[in-house]
């Protein structure tokens, strides 16, 4: 269960970024989450709520875009989405491949902020 420490890093990161924008209020955090990161979406969402408590981010939303696992098939010479992370092979021709192109992302992409202007 490392989702809580990851959620706390996300909150820290968002707060830092908000301060850079003059202490703006963060309404939402957009996150890319690859299916191969070993981070569970549901656990991360509930951890995020906990991590936000008593911080300026309390009440903000975490919007997760899940990234499928994409591999490069050496036979088709093309990127392919794997059907399952239990079977690393080309879904078209069945060639096994360990060449992973996408699916390990754990990235804060953007923030929705509300700038307070006088």
């Amino acid at each position: 269960m490392h989702e809580l420490s990851i959620a706390m890093s996300i909150v820290d990161m968002a707060q830092e970024e908000a301060e850079r924008h003059g202490g703006a209020q963060v309404q939402a955090v957009h996150l890319k989450l690859g299916r191969l990161t070993g981070v569970v979406k549901e656990a991360l969402l509930s951890s995020y709520e906990l991590a936000c408590e008593a911080t300026p981010l309390e009440g903000s939303r975490l919007l997760i875009e899940e990234i499928p696992v994409e591999v490069f098939c050496p036979k088709c010479e093309a990127p392919r989405l794997v059907d399952s992370i239990q079977w690393f092979c080309c879904p078209e021709c069945g060639t096994p491949t360990a060449n992973i192109l996408r699916g390990k992302e754990l990235e804060v992409i953007a923030l929705e902020i509300l700038e307070i202007k006088e």
């Binding site: 070993g38 690393f88 990235e107 929705e112 509300l114």
Partner: protein, 229 residues
Amino acid sequence: MSAGPRLVEVRKNVLKQNDVAARALRERFRDAGVLAVSLVSSPGSGKTAFLEKTLTLLYTRYRVAALVGDLATDNDAARLARSRALVKQIITGTVCHLEAAMVQNALEGWNLNDLDFLFIENVGNLVCPSSYDLGEDLRFVLLSVTEGEDKPLKYPTIFNSADVAVITKSDIAAAVEFDEAAVKRNIQAVRPGMEVFKVSAKTGEGMAEYLEFLQTRRQHFRAAAAVPK
């Protein structure tokens, strides 16, 4: 007056801090010519016994050290110290995995130039350690013959993040009707091309092949490190 919400781009890796620390460690290991190997597995799969045997066998010819992660107790370090290798315990408290910064802190006071091999035993956990790079050159995932042949399919992420699989406790394989072909098939499904060793730390079976692999790997590592950047 307040304006409406605005979208600002960030594009930052959440584990950036860990990745930066891991990269610094990897460079230090490279510069010192020490091959760093980490071990991950579920609790009870025999990591410590396997490591104790490894350290004991390597100790006669190489300068070896180990860091061992655990939530509590330093029992493992005490066990490993019997091998006479340099050993330090990392007590993680409530943290279920090692992070690069913990490795960095634990290395304080050690001169990496005095080492040939550094082993890093992660906390027994097949989930969380997969996300954290420790700067290691090789990650071993261990599974014992008692664990069920479908373990790689249940934990594909950790198997995928590892470089080598080690099947442990081979001495009791027959008693538990271990299906080696099935495990190997499952390992190849989640990590095509993965090297697999089958060992018994108790009887020493398979240890020679595995140690030869480590020594060869170290030679390649040092040859690559000797090439100017």
